[in-house]
Symmetry: C2
Subunit: 327 residues, 2 copies
């Protein structure tokens, strides 16, 4: 059994916990939190909760640690720190900062003799490998990624910071006509506005200026100003009733050509439709934790992404079984 | 430059030739054929065509060989034979016989100190890795594979062997309603008949008994008897005009659940729409040839499938470039 720990017990930590419980070759040995451990009640019976400060002294009893913190403020320092102590996986998803995150984690993991798999989940993660396989099969072509319909935590948080907003949920929605054009091999040049719209469900505080909130949302730089955004004011009850879940999904599409003159047109599409983003992401993290452990067992150290992992290492099934049933 | 040769110059060999020509890090050094070399004119200028019997003496000047023979009678003996001489890739696609093919090729490749990547292309190949990634992300679920709409060479050949048939083209067609049920997460149990239909376009010889041909097709064991099959008689001109291409494609769909009680339902889909099956398959083979060469350069030998290959090895781009642009 692969002795596994989870750091961080938010939505993603809960998803990873459920996935570890269902993995026949892994056991959950501990959960670490930066809160007071006694305030955190986890679902798996008999598993201790420790403060994050206790990780170093417990690390010798762990094979791999699953980091379930956020990319904005947790993972940039936490993944390198943990990689120096233990083999680790994270879901760092700030695409623009992946090269520097990789460099920092690689240095720490090599120094510690550990493997660190970063930026896994679905995007980056399964969407990334879909883009890579599509690129090797169709070297001449264009990549498109559409996200949604799904809840964006970052955009929901941004709305909540506006004065007068009590709560909010933001859905990213792909523009169906744009997706169809890409699927049809039209290779369109699409602006940000043409690819996605943003739907906001906002609970206002009593007496708040709704029009001011609406304007603050739709004009917010980076988050909303380049999109067609709709703002719907609803009650707290409606938010809890109709928008409690964290669904997500999307499609990676590559449209390209083969043939001496590019005479054959091909389309490759990989798509996800997820009821729960954090539970799915947690499941992918757990498979990467298995692969990380195996690579470390082979004597490897350093930072890896899904691009570096032979897919069979992610599965608990044997190579023979995979060849016989999935090849 | 990776010195590459192609064995077999049918549709797949032509597809591989075109893909090698477009790979910036590979050069085509030779084509081998079992026909008289002087009867084979290839597209790449200045590249020699040899008889297959000359492979052993030329092998020292080659880094990797792309086998473009058929799975029924060529590859079962040819891949082990070539793997003893040179690093090699094939597209062996008889799913039921992959384990024994793997064993025979592995033995020969290890004895020769070579790498052999078998069963690559799109199914087996990209569809296989799609199934594997979907299985590691959703360990609890069901896999579905739909093929088409596309030309099945094997079924077209089977029709051509019927007395009175001059030529034929067979399309495998997924049943749209079944695909929709799977996409909707209904997890249906589907019979062979419920998943695909078969459309046949047949040119009859003058005076042939059309009804006898139709009956021979629709009742043919394994090929047609378990399917709803339509037979359309057309002229040779219509066949050449409307059915000259070799399009194909299909979808791998996994429908599964996450959560402690399986309360979240997810769908993963990977699909292809290809104007030319052999040119796309040739392109995938060429990327696998690159990976095979690289694994052999690292001192590895033996048989591999896409399950064993870190995806980054398939690309001519550097790890840094892939992380920066595709992750």
């Amino acid at each position: 059994m692969i002795r596994t720990a989870i750091i961080g017990y938010g939505n993603l930590g809960k998803g990873a916990e459920s996935a570890v419980a269902q993995a026949p070759d892994m056991e959950l040995c501990a959960v670490f939190t930066r809160r007071s451990p006694e305030t955190v009640t986890i679902k798996t019976p008999g598993v201790p909760v420790y403060n994050y400060s206790e990780l170093a002294e417990k690390a010798a009893d762990l094979d791999v640690v699953i980091l379930c913190g956020g990319s904005a403020t947790d993972l940039p320092w936490m993944t390198p720190e943990v990689a120096g102590i233990c083999t680790v996986v994270d879901s760092f998803d700030t695409h623009a900062h992946i090269p520097e995150h990789f460099a920092a984690v690689d240095k720490a993991a090599k120094a510690g003799g550990n493997i660190a798999v970063i930026s896994t989940g679905w995007d980056p993660g399964l969407f990334s490998v879909a883009r890579l396989y599509a690129n090797i099969a169709l070297p001449q072509g264009s990549d498109y990624t559409f996200w949604g319909r799904g809840v964006s935590q970052g955009h929901s948080d941004a709305i909540r910071r506006i004065p007068g907003v009590a709560d909010a949920r933001q859905y990213t929605v792909p523009v169906a006509a744009a997706v169809e054009r890409v699927r049809n091999g039209e290779n369109p040049a699409l602006t940000t506005r043409e690819k996605h719209t943003r739907e906001c469900y906002v609970v206002a505080e009593p007496g708040a200026d709704l029009e001011a909130i609406r304007k603050a949302i739709v004009s917010m730089p980076n988050y909303f100003d380049e999109y067609d955004t709709t703002v719907n004011f609803i009650t707290e009850e409606e938010l809890l009733r109709d928008h409690a879940g964290l669904p997500h999904g999307g499609s990676v599409i590559r449209s390209g050509v083969t043939g001496w003159e590019g005479e054959y047109r091909d389309t490759i599409e990989f798509s996800l439709k997820l009821d729960s983003n954090p539970f799915f992401t947690g499941s992918v993290l757990v498979s990467c934790a298995r692969a990380a452990y195996r690579m470390n067992q082979r004597g490897e150290s350093g930072c890896r992404t899904l691009f570096d992992i032979p897919p069979a290492l992610l599965s608990e099934k044997s190579a023979e079984e995979l060849r016989a049933h999935l090849l």
